[in-house]
Subunit: 395 residues, 2 copies
């Protein structure tokens, strides 16, 4: 029996973690906002991370992956305004230089630091300015919100969340900051997340739990189907709670943090007016369920219908039809929340007005039952609005 | 040596083909436009067709596929306003009834007729009205434009095209009508095309040439990545020219018609402001080239950038990165028309203003060279505008 309670403090909620932010004008040259952030553990810690599956990987991801081989990182240095992606060998050197500078500031080796960047791609990092920005950082126990704010790009609010967990074996904390999957002018932006915990865990447990939890949180979200070159989720654990929880207790707490941050990211997608959970059940297997759920969630036409408050099912059935999974359309049921929209492949008798009332809500669930097997999967997604297009017209 | 000349007459340009249209108020009950059309050969003809690969297939496709087994159809009956899709067993009966009615009108067996529908899905066809509409049809030698107009949904112009071909073995004609891939409120619409020829060809040649030509025309277009349940391309050949051209001569003429109609469809996509050819070269093989070209063409972010006249390359590289094909991003070159935008994975020295001038054009070409192999593919696509979203908000 465990008790999970939401607490304040974000990425600094866990004992011994410090965060801070500073501004150095990365994007424009003039300092109008904080654009550098750091998260730091005062005690030695274990680390784990998951990175984008995009085959084009930004320089900070390559450098972080290299450092991560030891699994003993104690700090993360982050910047917004420039993704340091598609920047060639010079970009790799710049990412290393960021770790060097953060290491100097914190009294760590360069290899004890992980690095994340988000923002414009294809533009060299202004390393002189960034070095000054890093030197200005003063990590502290109340710096979570400032660091969450510094890494924002097109996000409209800073994202932080933390929980305290009481178990029979003592208590521990898990908290984090994140930035959104919304896309940034003039190039795509990135999903970044740093989670910290004072639970006392081994590195293999940390790695396994992060992988599992990301599969159930950040990997469930899709806003436009485009994946960034920089997506990164990092987990640091310093053991300062002296509590070694059961894996399931830690997993529950970690899920609470990752899933909450993931939902915040979806809700804050660019121009989003609706949060939609797409649940696919009855597929031949889980893999096909995922393919179909993602096809629905990424269908431009389905998303446009939702933006208009239209409880459209034809476009949903169409998406399942073209995504390649096994389907017998004479069997398919589709629900908006709990109201049947389609039964056995044809329109249900539910009055259209009732279905429309569901699609008019800010948040609803679409369930598609293929009635072929036991495969299931769900994703969290959004509508596609004119505002989204406007925000992504580029420069 | 052959000579291909554009001529008038559309789907009636070839000898012995008749077309006509009538209005019966399919969508709303009141007759405000023509919504039924027919194409008919006065002489026996061979037929071939290609249908949507969507696993959810509308009733008219199922009935047409069944009739097509003989390859001896002489007429096509078409309607707009209702797709007769997701309508269950009753829909199959309705599609058969449309063939029956057209057969009665033209003195043909029901099985000598193919049927196409486009429009709303999930709504039963108003068969009483459609039967009246079919009875009113008066196919004639100048009915191409009227029939092309009757099958329009969200199309902004009627699409017809024809050519006359002179060869050492005599002359023949090929012509057709089509309707667009733009999507229709409240559900997805359909790409329909009927091509006729008076060339004297065997049924196997007809079938092979149609398949080849569709692969190089209609299968190259993508507007939003969504595929309809009703997509159909039909080819009828009645041999009345008494000319049996070489396969390559017929193929060239057929391509001229299918590729012109396909480009018309793309240009008339909903809310489209730019026509873009995406060419992928240097891929490991043709299949990977196709995957990457389609990923670029279907990327919401890439398309939004084009709508804004932004010669964005980061989003293009990102799309190639996540679509799963082999890539070494340090090798990639990207061009807007002939201007290098990216060389070896990093920004070229081409002044941004010059690239922007290309992306500002109504029509341009993006070439991506992966420099890994000899695989190549191209697709024709469009930008994604606020207008597109507005048109697809549903009801």
């Amino acid at each position: 029996m465990i008790e999970i309670k939401k607490i304040k403090g974000g990425v600094c909620a866990a004992r011994g973690f410090f965060a801070g932010a500073s501004g150095c004008g990365i994007k424009t040259g003039s300092v109008t906002r904080d654009d550098v952030a750091v998260v730091f553990s005062e005690a030695p810690s274990f680390s784990a991370a998951t990175f984008t599956t995009n085959k084009v990987k930004a320089a900070p991801i390559r450098v972080s992956a290299e450092h991560l081989k030891t699994g003993r990182q104690r700090a993360v240095i982050l910047n917004s305004g420039n993704a340091n992606a598609c920047t060639g060998e010079a970009g790799i050197q710049d990412a290393r230089a960021m770790c060097d500078a953060a290491g100097s500031l914190l009294g760590l080796k360069s290899k004890e630091v992980l690095v994340c960047s988000t923002g414009r791609i294809g533009v060299p990092l202004p390393m002189d300015r960034i070095a000054k920005g890093i030197a200005l950082l003063k990590p502290n126990r109340t710096g979570s919100l400032a660091s969450a704010t510094a890494i924002m790009t097109s996000d409209t609010f800073a994202k932080e969340f933390a929980v305290e967990v009481k178990t029979g074996k003592g208590s521990f904390r898990v908290g984090g900051i994140a930035k959104g999957a919304g896309m940034i002018d003039p190039n795509m932006a990135t999903m970044l997340c740093v989670v910290t915990t004072d639970a006392d865990l081994s590195q293999p447990v940390l790695r396994a739990e992060l992988k599992r939890s990301v599969a159930n949180s950040f990997n469930r979200i899709t806003i436009d189907g485009d994946m960034s070159t920089n997506d990164t989720v990092i987990l640091l654990s310093n053991g300062l709670s002296a509590c070694t929880p059961d894996m399931s207790a830690f997993g529950q707490a970690l899920d609470e943090v990752t899933r909450t941050l993931a939902r915040m990211i979806v809700s804050d997608g660019e121009g989003v007016s609706r949060f939609v959970e797409v649940e696919l059940i009855g597929a031949a297997n889980d893999k096909e369920a995922r393919t179909a759920a993602e096809a629905i969630a990424n269908s431009t036409l389905v998303k446009c219908a939702w933006a208009g408050g239209d409880p459209n099912w034809g476009r949903i059935l169409d998406a399942v039809g073209y995504c390649g999974v096994k389907i017998d359309d004479a069997k398919v049921d589709i629900f908006y929340d709990k109201l049947a929209s389609v039964k056995n492949g044809i329109a249900s008798h539910t009055p259209f007005e009732k279905l429309r009332a569901v699609a008019a809500k800010k948040s609803f669930k679409v369930t598609v039952d293929l009635k072929l097997g036991k495969g299931s999967y769900y994703v969290w997604t959004t509508d596609l609005t004119e505002e989204y297009v406007r925000l992504n017209l580029g420069e």
